[in-house]
Amino acid sequence: MKSVRLALFADSAPQLLERALLRELAGRGMAAEVRSWAFASPLAVQGELAAFAPDLVLLWACAEAERFPDVRPVLALPYRFLVCNMVARDDGTCGNLAVVEPSTMRARIAAWNAALIDLARAEPRLGVVDLDWIQARLGRAQTFDPRLWEAASVALAPAGTQALAARIADRLCAEQGRLRKVLVTDLDNTLWSGIVSEIGPEAIQPGAPGRRAYRAWLKALAARGVFLAVASRNDREVALAAFRHPEMDMAAEDFAAFEADWGPKSAMLRRIAAQLHVAEDSLVFLDDRPENRAEVRAALPGVCVPELPEDPALWPEALAALNLFEAVQITAEDRGRSEGSRAERRRMEVAAALSPEEYLASLEQVLTPEPLGPANLARAAQLTQRCNQFNMRGTRHTEASLAGRTGWVYRLRDRFGDLGAVSAVVLEGDFIETWVLSCRALNRGVERLVLDHLRSLGPVRGQYVPTERNGRCREVYRENGIPEIPPEEVSR
């Protein structure tokens, strides 16, 4: 494996961190080379740095050094950077006012950290290591030993150094694609209190101490793009029934995979990985029973199986401390992943239970027209390129060919969620030159809603030009009483 080259810049003695990093990375099977520069700026040693050719430059300005270096000029160098934020610190010279008064150490640290966050948001090459949270979690006494600082300029005590090294290694692993993507949870005495097959779905306790906070943590993970899955030793129907408990604040549909039977948990995890198209080492498995954890650990060594405290009230803090779900970036696609799949599952359930007419009426669809313009040109072009089944004349457009044209982009939402821009129309006078509709919006009566909108603005004429795949929109104009131009009359 290629070795990772890390350049470490610190305004305190860096040796303890350097050693801890090498140990931590070796423990994760990552070869690494670390080179430290103490009390120097990367700008001052550009030649040496270029010769070292780091994969990543780590900047650690400590609160104790009181230097508050400007990170911006360093970004002129062509590297990726990881910058530690500063730990909270107060010298007690003006009490609570220290938070407010801009000249205090406490306020200057807060301002430096805020500027760092702004920089990281604007510059994709810069990441932040949350050293401040390490101190908040371990306590000041565990992270700062004034004697070490005075005797040897060591700004971080051993426990804090170890935690920082782990946090940096988490980030390096994530950057190399070693990401955990799925959280697999047990149900009985994990998601709720009680064993549903023994006491019945009504008698479980979803509100027992710790359970609600655990579920809130799961929901937060899903919101940022982690898949949730269930692995439970239960009859499937009984497990599903438990989700109808009035105090239950999660639905079975919140889980992208739902495995419930009486086989071993490791077999369930294998099926979950296959179903979600992920490798086994991207799974995290949480279960209250040590024997289940041991079984999975033995059968699937790649799966992360954290030990859990006996008391479920302690779980969320213990899980947060493990930093199981390091992420390099979170995209809009991540945020929409669970939402989109959940909404689609709910639609399918409702559709199965109702007649097509009842289903459509129940969706509470709202179609919003937007004039074709710079803000939606890219999406409109993409729709014409992707839509085959509902592309009235088989037309394709690019952003350039759409620029300056008259038309509409239609956004659809229903009571289950936002489907985004689903249809685009290009007009030439009263003639519908292009009309495409996304597959996601087919069979929902959206065609008529679009035509009603166009008609409300004035009379329109349409044309159907057959292509290999657009047979399904052959009758749409006729069914909706739109005057049609015969296929041969307008050249494509």
Binding site: A13, Q15, L16, R19, R147, L148, E150, A151, A152, V154
Partner: protein, 77 residues
Amino acid sequence: MMERLAGLFSETLGRPMPPLAEKTAFADLPGWDSVAHLALLLAVERAFGVAFASAEMVSMRTVGEMAAVLRGKGVAP
């Protein structure tokens, strides 16, 4: 005390120690450097349940000096 120190030193520095004498300087121990020195001091603090003052941390240069500081903190010779 000397035997305990020798055990701690070899544990912290990760290698066997030669016989320690009062005049043995830390700088002459195998595997010693300034960072190892700090790790060594912290290990001795934990093992004997004492805390060194920062001045003591920088002043102790030989095993004998450390033993004297420890005796001063009530550690049996």
